[in-house]
Symmetry: C2
Subunit: 242 residues, 2 copies
């Protein structure tokens, strides 16, 4: 029986790969993953067997990777960011009981909440929530409930998947929910194409964010009541007593 | 003028360092940080000038690092995990206006929520909150409010600093708050000494967690209503519709 490694590669640039991720990808015989993510590392491992699928082929991809591992191959399933945060670790572990004897190891990586935060400054310097606005696998009512709770708890918030072609107004809808409990001047940030060509950063207010379009390559940060803009940086202080 | 890099080194083992963190530490003339964290990387860079302080010397440490950078040195301020998540990025950026001309760059790292999750399985596979139970810099009332909100939103939750010598019962107090909205059978996990000697993992129920002592080297995970124990893994599924 082989081993399936689920590997977080960070936001894309080789500089964000951990040593463990690099070593695991080098050791694997087959690299699987969503086409775009595999392309990010493919050039470094030209000799590998590659299996890619479109974005919505997660389960097919996980099963294929588990089957290869069952046949004795060492397989790496490549995830953007971290392996666990909206990554392939959960579906692989859900399917694993169908493949007795296959070993699964999870290799963590720098998720967009962390890599995006570093570009903005320190927006997640105190307690925070991570929420995906994608309702492809989650009812919108669950997402709404989480946005309301995050605002009620005065968390800093990081939003993944703030929009897509089919969900152009979701960021606005999310901001409208947050504005019920957060002030319109709340400091917010957007980061696009983290660690890739076209990387850019913007700081704006929650009221402005509500009027702004995002896309699927954007990660959005919404401050707590304590978050500050200091120069061109977004900062949530650790100590609220100072 | 020099540059101050605030660098997240991951949980400790060299395997979790990103290429960017490694390169930055190699390039820096001076490494600053909390004694324990600097020790984790010191062996790899024996030629460096080292400045360490105790855990509560954050501001002193940040000022020292900024002063060194002002004098033209290239300085790395070493943080465990990520540079921004309860790390030194926020206090450095708050102090930066006192040191005009000094450049500050944040290098992200794998925070304990991610490295601990990978050891447990995929507890953060869907929306999650990160909350610190340390009330050294935060009023306990703020922490309570966040715990209640996180439970109301049915988030998976990762707790940092669940206990210390002076806060032996804080984890119990947190569990009691969570038990008002979450079931006693909620799947939870604890990870101790991530990426270091003595690394260990445990899965237990929220009711059991309430009766369990933690220490400052432990990271705690509390599932959402959807979190499962699958074999020896803790898994929060991505899709709630399946």
């Amino acid at each position: 029986m082989g081993t399936l490694f689920v590997v977080g590669i960070g936001p894309g640039a080789p500089a964000y790969l951990t040593d463990a991720a690099e070593t695991t990808l080098a050791r694997a015989e087959v690299l699987c993953g969503y086409t775009l993510y595999v392309e990010l590392v493919r050039a470094r491992f030209p000799e590998k067997v590659i299996y890619t699928t479109g974005m919505t082929g997660e389960i097919e991809r996980c099963r294929y990777a588990l089957e290869l591992a069952r046949s004795g191959r060492t397989v790496a399933l490549v995830c953007s960011g971290d392996a666990g945060v909206y990554g392939m670790a959960a579906p692989v572990l859900e399917l694993q009981p169908d493949y007795p004897g296959v070993t699964v190891e999870i290799v963590p990586g720098v998720t967009a909440a962390l890599s995006g935060a570093a570009l903005l400054g320190a927006p997640l310097g105190h307690d925070f929530c991570v929420i995906s606005l994608s309702d492809r696998l989650t009812d919108w009512s669950v997402i709404e409930r989480r946005l309301s709770a995050a605002a009620a708890g005065d968390f800093a918030i990081c939003l993944y998947n703030p929009a897509s072609r089919h969900r152009k107004d979701y960021l606005r809808r999310a901001c409208e929910i947050l504005l019920r409990a957060k002030g319109p001047e709340t400091v917010c940030g957007m980061v696009r194409n983290i660690g890739r060509e076209g990387e850019c950063v913007r700081i704006l207010t929650l009221a402005e964010l509500c009027e702004t379009e995002a896309d699927m390559f954007t990660t959005v940060f919404i401050g707590s009541s304590q978050t500050l803009q200091i120069g061109e940086r977004m900062v949530t202080p650790r100590g609220y007593r100072t």
